[in-house]
């Protein structure tokens, strides 16, 4: 049986995962299976990590207003205080595809800002990888802090779990 993207309901797929958890790979797979994963930047003709530029910009704005960024995650209560509801709603309303979604690692920290505005059939695809592997993977990248620690990783993962609990009404 082929799995067909032919449901009569609109569907939204949000990928959540700390950096280095194969989120680009999963975004690529969804994109190739008929899900509109947004507007990508391109490097040498290939999509840049399959990140949606519009959501990436919005996430940067949310994190910045909360006093942090991807590498230095702000406190959750500071993210909660950010008031960008109108802009977020506008961004979501712009999406016209029947099956769409997005991936940007920052969404791991900001997802709760979007959930109240996602009214259709929403799927969260949450990605996790053995912590030691992620930390080792970071250490191989010169652009990231060598002291990327389990503490920062735990912030990403805890944020996902908190959002999942609310999303699943648990």
């Amino acid at each position: 049986m082929g799995i067909k993207m032919n449901s009569k309901d609109n569907k939204i797929y949000v990928i959540l995962g700390a950096p280095h958890t194969a989120s680009s790979f999963i975004a690529k797979l969804l994109s190739e299976n008929g899900v509109d994963m947004g507007r990508f930047g391109y490097v040498s003709g290939d999509p840049y990590y399959y990140e949606d530029i519009d959501f990436k910009d919005m996430n940067k704005k949310i994190l910045s207003e909360a006093g942090g960024n991807l590498r230095y995650p702000p406190k959750k209560e500071d993210i909660d205080k950010v008031e960008l509801d109108e802009e977020i709603k506008k961004l979501i309303d712009k999406k016209e595809s029947k099956f769409w979604g997005w991936k940007d690692p920052r969404t791991t920290l900001t997802i709760e800002k979007y959930l109240p505005h996602l009214e259709e059939d929403v799927y969260l695809v949450c990605l996790f990888r053995k912590p030691k592997r992620i930390i080792d993977s970071y250490r191989g990248k010169s652009g990231f802090r060598r002291d990327f620690t389990k503490e920062v990783l735990d912030k990403y993962n805890s944020s996902i779990l908190e959002a999942v609990r609310k999303f699943c009404e648990l």
Partner: protein, 171 residues
């Protein structure tokens, strides 16, 4: 930037999610990328891109846990962890393990904690969740159960996945 999966390091992908949460879509997509999802070994292709041998073992674990607990409903995590299937779990992993491999069976949402100690190397969990309103709508349409029972099944699966993630990520 090209996304490479077949780098030099072997990888294991385990898909978790209650039925109806797009786990088959993900499993199909992984298989199409050359990851061995065990969909064809021994049994022929399955309808939902599941590994039939993992499915059979998971059924066996859940039945044993039900018997231990004396329930017809889904057993508790404690009962699932209490039943002894170490040798069978080691054997099935050894049989299917490859360079780039994985598997999907919705029952793993309840049983995966038993498998975690035996999964070595670079392991990824892909955990799928869906808005309860839509998932329950689907369950109510297709299945001969009460709404309360459907919600119970959904919640049990989701709670169990969260518990597995916490253990996997050492949170």
């Amino acid at each position: 930037m090209t996304i490479k999966i077949h780098d030099k390091h072997p990888k294991t992908y385990v898909i978790l999610g209650a039925p109806g949460t797009a786990t088959s879509l993900i499993s199909k997509a992984l298989e199409e990328q050359g990851i061995d999802m065990g969909n064809t070994k021994g049994y022929g292709r399955t309808k939902f891109y599941e590994n039939k041998e993992f499915e059979d073992l998971n059924k066996e674990i859940i039945e044993a846990a039900k018997k231990l607990e004396g329930t017809k409903d889904l057993p508790s995590e404690e009962s699932i962890m209490a039943v002894d299937f170490e040798d069978k779990i080691k054997k099935i992993i050894k049989k299917h393990k490859g360079e780039f491999w994985g598997w999907k069976d919705p029952k793993n949402s309840l049983t995966l904690k038993k498998f975690l100690p035996h999964l070595e190397g670079d392991v990824y969990l892909i955990c799928c969740f869906r808005k309860p309103y839509h998932l329950l709508h689907m369950y109510n349409w297709y299945r001969n159960r009460t709404r309360k029972e459907n919600r119970g099944i959904m919640n049990t699966n989701n709670r169990s996945i969260i518990s597995i993630i916490k253990e996997f990520c050492k949170l």
